[in-house]
């Protein structure tokens, strides 16, 4: 059986989640490996969510937020950008494959981009194989 990765998507309510909705209503095809969690803003994301997701068996984590400058709360994603950049560096220095964590800005009107990003990211994670480093043996 081919490897089907589990990918956690954390999407901001105002842009990426709505973008995902648009991708759905326009009936775009994209892989089913993404499990989406909706948060009110990308700056709501506690970096520990990402560490914990990897521990609980996620093969990849995709964070989606509004384009910088478009945040519903004006500055949320600007804080998130700095914070998630640090998260990325920490994951990388701890020894995890850097490609397993990705942040994308997808607006509410970019259903196409959402489908593209998910397809591309799923492909990338498939190539990386199962994530075993953080995963807790159960």
């Amino acid at each position: 059986m081919s490897f089907e990765p589990k990918i956690l998507g954390i999407a901001c309510n105002w842009c990426t989640y709505t973008g995902a909705d648009l991708a759905g209503t326009t009936r775009l095809q994209y892989p089913q490996n993404l499990r989406v969690v909706r948060v009110m803003c990308s700056s709501r994301i506690n970096p520990s969510f990402i560490f914990r997701a990897f521990q609980l068996g996620a093969d990849g984590v995709l964070v989606g937020g509004c384009h910088p400058g478009d945040c519903h709360y004006n500055t949320g994603n600007l804080y998130a950008r700095r914070r998630l950049a640090v998260t990325k560096k920490i994951l990388e220095f701890s020894g995890l494959e850097p490609g397993r964590f990705r942040v994308e800005w997808i607006s509410a009107s970019e259903g196409n981009k959402f489908a593209e990003v998910v397809t591309e990211f799923t492909e990338q994670i498939k190539n990386l194989g199962p994530q075993t480093k953080f995963k807790i043996e159960q």
Binding site: Q55, R82, V86, I90, G95, L96
Partner: protein, 288 residues
């Protein structure tokens, strides 16, 4: 020639006595006698007669800025700080945990501090490598002129060049030794959250007993919480009973923050901590 430790001790005593007698501060955070010469202890002098107990020698490595947050706001405190410790004070002022006007900062220019555990000289391989305090009211001794032995981030080169799997194995080996005594957290001047995220049960981020998953969660999140705030005093690594080189990871995160956000932690009271700040023109490249 740098001021000798004995001279600094005398100056520290005089200064502390002066401050306590005049009543301009209610306590002085300095170093006191431990069970032997090699193990001095943090000491709080509360009246002029306590001053005689103050000592200062090459083993006084502790970061006294750690104790500032333990007193109610508005307490007038004099604190003895070495180079990196003064950055911790600045960082605490930036974070509005203490007020500049409540503090009298007794700066100590140092060179040749020694790790009480190993007896090795502490230099820029494990700390920020500064000799003189960045911010002080009184400087106890002459400024030390000198360059750090190596640039403070040089020590990272070998680890950055490592293959990611080798680096993972390296950190696993280190974190697996962790006994979760939380000495790193207790020694850290920037770790003042109550409760610490790892002590929370709702949500429960990780097990509190030593086990690999919880150890990883605790350490990685702690590195994250100290991003852009760690002032590289190296106290966490010296406090660690199982010698985990935590300073390496902190240095790496500090280096990345400096490169990405263009500011080092605790260098100016005008700054804002990097992660509670942003620039509209921050590049998206930092996410790659």
């Amino acid at each position: 020639m740098a001021t000798s430790f004995k001279q600094i001790e005398e100056k520290l005593k005089t200064e502390a006595a002066k401050l306590l007698e005049s009543g301009s501060v209610s306590l002085v955070l300095a170093y006191g006698k431990g069970y032997d010469e090699k193990h001095p202890m943090p000491y709080v002098a509360k009246c002029a007669s306590d001053v005689a107990n103050i000592v200062f020698n090459e083993f006084c490595t502790y970061n006294m800025a750690r104790y500032l947050v333990r007193y109610p706001r508005g307490t007038k405190i004099a604190v003895a700080v070495k180079a990196a410790d003064s950055r911790a004070v600045i960082q605490l002022i930036q974070e509005e945990k203490v007020k500049r006007e409540d503090l009298v900062i007794l700066g100590i220019p140092v060179s040749g501090m020694k790790n009480p555990k190993t007896g090795e000289t502490i230099d820029s391989k494990t700390t920020c490598g500064l000799y003189n305090p960045v911010l002080y009211d009184v400087l106890l001794g002459e400024e030390v002129h000198g360059q750090p032995v190596v640039s403070p981030y040089d020590v990272l080169a070998g680890y950055e060049a490592m293959d990611k799997d080798a680096r993972w194995a390296f950190w696993q080996k280190e974190f697996d030794r962790c006994i979760r005594c939380y000495a790193c957290r207790k020694a850290c001047p920037m770790c003042y959250c109550d409760p610490c995220f790892i002590d929370q049960t709702k949500p429960k981020w990780g097990d509190k007993s030593p086990e690999p998953a919880g150890n990883l969660m605790y350490h990685l999140t702690r590195f994250h919480h100290l991003a852009g705030r760690c002032i590289d005093c190296g106290e966490c690594s010296r406090a660690c009973p199982v010698d985990i080189p935590l300073y390496l990871f902190h240095k790496k995160v500090a280096k990345e923050c400096e490169e990405m956000f263009g500011q080092a932690a605790g260098m100016s009271i005008e700054d804002k901590p990097a992660l509670v700040n942003f620039r509209v023109d921050d590049s998206d490249k930092i996410l790659e």
